[in-house]
Symmetry: C2
Subunit: 152 residues, 2 copies
C-alpha cells in the first residue's frame, strides 16, 4: 500500500471513529435538542424554510422519520408549518422565534466546546482543516448513496 492509500485508510478510520463517538455522546450536552433536531433546525435556518420532503432528501432520511421529527419539533414550539397556498399537499416549515433562539444557543455552546478542543491549534492548521472538511463533505453530498454510506 502506498502513502496515499495509507492516508485514505487513516481518514476512513478517523472519520468513522468520530461518527461512532458522535451519537454515543449526543444529547448529553443539550438534552432538549438532539443531534437530529439540531441539524434539521440548522437546515431550516440556512434554507429559510423548506418542505419536509426536502429535509428527507437532504439527509437521506425516510419521509416518515422526518414527519415524526417535524411533529416533535412543532410540539416543542420550535418550528411551525404553513400549508402552501399553491399546493395544499405541501407544508412549508419555518423556525419560530423560540426555535431560532434555541438553535443559536446550542450552536454557541457547541462552538465553545469545539474551540476548547481546538484551542492549541495554529490558525493556519485550523483553516486548512476546515477547508479539507468542506471539500470532503461537498464530495460526499454529491456522491451516490453507496458512497455516502461509506462514511458510516
Amino acid at each position: 500500500m502506498n502513502a496515499a492509500d495509507a492516508s485514505v485508510e487513516t481518514i476512513q478510520r478517523e472519520m468513522t471513529a468520530f461518527a461512532r463517538r458522535a451519537r454515543a455522546s449526543a444529547g448529553r450536552m443539550h438534552p432538549e435538542l438532539s443531534l437530529v433536531s439540531y441539524t434539521l433546525l440548522g437546515h431550516l435556518e440556512e434554507s429559510g424554510g423548506c418542505r419536509a420532503t426536502d429535509l428527507a432528501a437532504h439527509y437521506a432520511l425516510d419521509k416518515s422519520t422526518v414527519s415524526r421529527q417535524v411533529t416533535a419539533l412543532e410540539r416543542a414550539g420550535l418550528i411551525e408549518r404553513q400549508v402552501d397556498p399553491e399546493d395544499h399537499r405541501v407544508q412549508v416549515l419555518r423556525l419560530t422565534e423560540a426555535g431560532t433562539r434555541i438553535l443559536a444557543q446550542v450552536t454557541e455552546s457547541r462552538r465553545i466546546a469545539f474551540r476548547e478542543r481546538l484551542a492549541d491549534w495554529p490558525a493556519a492548521d485550523l483553516e486548512r482543516f476546515a477547508a479539507y472538511l468542506v471539500r470532503y463533505n461537498t464530495a460526499a453530498a454529491g456522491a451516490p448513496p453507496a458512497a455516502q454510506a461509506s462514511g458510516s
Copy 2:
C-alpha cells in the same frame, strides 16, 4: 469573529454534518456488519484482544451496550470470549478467523468508497487531512464528556 473562530465554526458544522449523515446511512453498505460492530471489531484487531470494559471506555459506551454487542458478535461467530485465568471476572475478547475475514472485507470495500471520494486529492493534502483528523480525535478521546458531546 476572527479568522480562527470562523475556522472553528466551519469545523464544527462540517464535523456535525458528517456525523449526522454517517449514522443515517449506516448499515446500508454492509447489512451484516453495523457501524457499531465494525468499530468494535476494528478495535479488537488493533488491540489484539481486550476486555469489554476497555471497549466501553474507548467508545464512551455503557457497559451494558457493549455487553449486548459482544453477545451478538459472538453469536455471529465473529469474536470469541475466553475467561481470564488470572481473574475469572474478566473475559478476554478476540476476533475469530471469520471475524478477521469479514472485518478485512468490510474495511476493503469501505476503503474503496473512500478512495473514490478522495480520488482527486493531492497526496500531500491527504496526508495533512489524515494528520488533522488523528489530532482532533486524540484530543476528543482525552477530553471530558461534555467536550466529547460537542462532537455530536
